[in-house]
C-alpha cells in the first residue's frame, strides 16, 4: 500500500462524478430559486408597504445570524412535525435556497441603492415610462454593481451544498466520506474532491469575471 494509489482514485472516479452531478443539480436548482426569491424579496424590501420590508429584513438577519447546518436540520427534521415532509433532495434544495436568497436580497438591494437619484431624475425628465425607466436605465446599472457579490453567493451556494451530506444527500462530499468509511483511503479521496471542488469553483469564478468585464465594457475608460 503506497501513500498515494492512483489506481484507487481511478476506481472511485465514476462514483465521485455521480456525486459531483448531484452537487451540481442541487446547486443549480437552488441558485435558480434563490435568484428569483432574491428579486422578489428585494422588491418587497423596497416597497412602500413598510411591514413587508421589515419582515424581509428580519428574515435576512435571521438567516445570516444562524448556522447553516442548523437550518438544514430544521428543514429536514423539524418541518415534518409541522406537517411538511420533503425528500432529502428537496429539503436540501429548500435549505440552500433559503440561505442563498437572504444574501441575494442584500446584494440586489445594495445594487439598487447604488443607482443615484440623479439617474432616476434624468431618465424621468427624458420622458421614459416607469417600466422602461426601470428596465432599461436602472436595472442595468444596478445589476452591474450587484454582480460581484451575487457571483460570490452563487459560488457560496455550490460550496454550501457540501453541508447537505449531513442529512444524507449523496453528493460529492458524501461519496468521499462514505468511501473512506469503507476503505480508509482518506488521502486519495480528499485529494480528489479538493481538486474537483477547486476546478468547479475556480471555473465559475473565471466565467463570472468574464461576465463582469463584459458588462463593464460600455463604461470602461477610453
Amino acid at each position: 500500500m503506497t501513500f498515494l494509489d492512483w489506481g484507487y482514485i481511478l476506481d472511485a472516479l465514476p462514483d465521485l462524478l455521480r456525486g459531483l452531478g448531484m452537487t451540481l443539480v442541487v446547486s443549480f436548482l437552488a441558485i435558480l430559486f434563490s435568484l428569483t426569491l432574491g428579486l422578489i424579496g428585494c422588491a418587497l424590501r423596497r416597497s412602500c408597504f413598510k411591514p413587508s420590508g421589515y419582515a424581509v429584513a428580519a428574515y435576512v438577519e435571521f438567516i445570516r445570524g444562524t448556522p447553516y447546518l442548523v437550518q438544514i436540520f430544521f428543514v429536514f427534521y423539524g418541518l415534518p412535525s409541522l406537517g411538511l415532509t420533503l425528500s432529502i433532495f428537496w429539503s436540501g434544495v429548500l435549505a440552500l435556497t433559503l440561505w442563498a436568497s437572504a444574501f441575494h436580497i442584500e446584494s440586489f438591494r445594495a445594487g439598487l441603492s447604488s443607482v443615484s437619484r440623479d439617474i432616476h431624475n434624468a431618465s424621468s425628465s427624458l420622458g421614459l415610462r416607469p417600466w422602461h425607466h426601470g428596465l432599461f436605465v436602472v436595472l442595468p446599472i444596478a445589476l452591474r454593481s450587484a454582480l460581484p457579490s451575487t457571483l460570490n453567493t452563487v459560488v457560496g451556494t455550490i460550496k454550501n451544498s457540501a453541508y447537505l451530506q449531513a442529512i444524507g444527500l449523496v453528493e460529492l462530499t458524501f461519496v468521499a466520506v462514505d468511501r473512506i468509511a469503507q476503505e480508509f483511503r482518506s488521502v486519495e479521496m480528499f485529494l480528489s474532491i479538493c481538486v474537483i471542488y477547486l476546478a468547479v469553483i475556480l471555473g465559475i469564478s473565471a466565467l463570472g469575471h468574464r461576465l463582469e468585464k463584459r458588462l463593464n465594457r460600455p463604461y470602461a475608460a477610453r
Binding site: 442548523v70 460570490n152 488521502v187
Partner: protein
Amino acid sequence: MDLLYEYRIFLLAGLLETLKMSLVVALGGTLCAIVLTFGVTSKPTLLLRISFGLMELLRDLPLMVTVLLVYFMLPAAGVSLNPFWSCCAAISVWGGANGAQILRAGLASVGNGQRETAAAFGFGPLKALLLITLPQAMPVIVPPYVGLLTALVQATSLGSVVGAQELLRSGQVLIEQTTIMRGGSPAYLVYGSILVVYFTLCTLISVIGGRIERHFLRPYARGAEAKVGAKVHAIEATISTSA
C-alpha cells in the same frame, strides 16, 4: 417547552462546549490570520506564493470539506486529536485565511505616505505597523472582522459532524433519545431553539462589534464613515458568503 426545561442541564453543557469552542476558534483564527498576513504582505518570494496559495485554497474549499479533511487526515499524518480539537484546528485555519484577507485589505487601505513618513521619522517596521498603520487600518478591519467572528461562532456547529459534543450534537442526541419516549419528534422545537440561541449569540457579537467600530471611528469622525463604508461592505459580503 417542557422538554427543553427537563433536559436543560444537558443542553447547557452543550452550550458551554460551544462557547468554549467559539473562544478557542476566535483566538486560533486570529493567530492564524496574523501569521498568514505576514506571509501575504511579504516581499515577492516563495513565502508570498505559498501563503497566497494556502489562502486561496482554504477560501475556495467548502468549510465542511476542510473540517472533514482535518478530521480524517490528521491520523494519516500521525497526529491524533479528539473531535473537539480537530474541529477547532480546521475552523481556525479557515478563519485564518479569511482573517488574513481582511487584515491585508485593512493595511492596504492606509496610504503609502503614512509608512514613508513613519520611516522618515525613524520608526522601525514593527513600531510603524503597530503605532501608525494599524490604528488607521482599524476602521476598515473591525466591521468585516466582527462578521468573521460571527461566522466562526456559526461554524462551531460543524463540530456535530465529526462528533464533538457541542450544542447541535446535544440537540441531536436529545431528539434521538426522546422521540420514541414521547411518541413524536420534538425536532422542530429543539432545532428551532438552537437557531434562536445562535442568533442571540451572533447578534450580541455584532452589537459589541458596533461599539468597538464606533470607538475606532471617533478620531476620524468627520466624513470618515462615508469613506470607509463602501470598502467595508464589499469585504463583509465576501466573508459572509464564503462560509
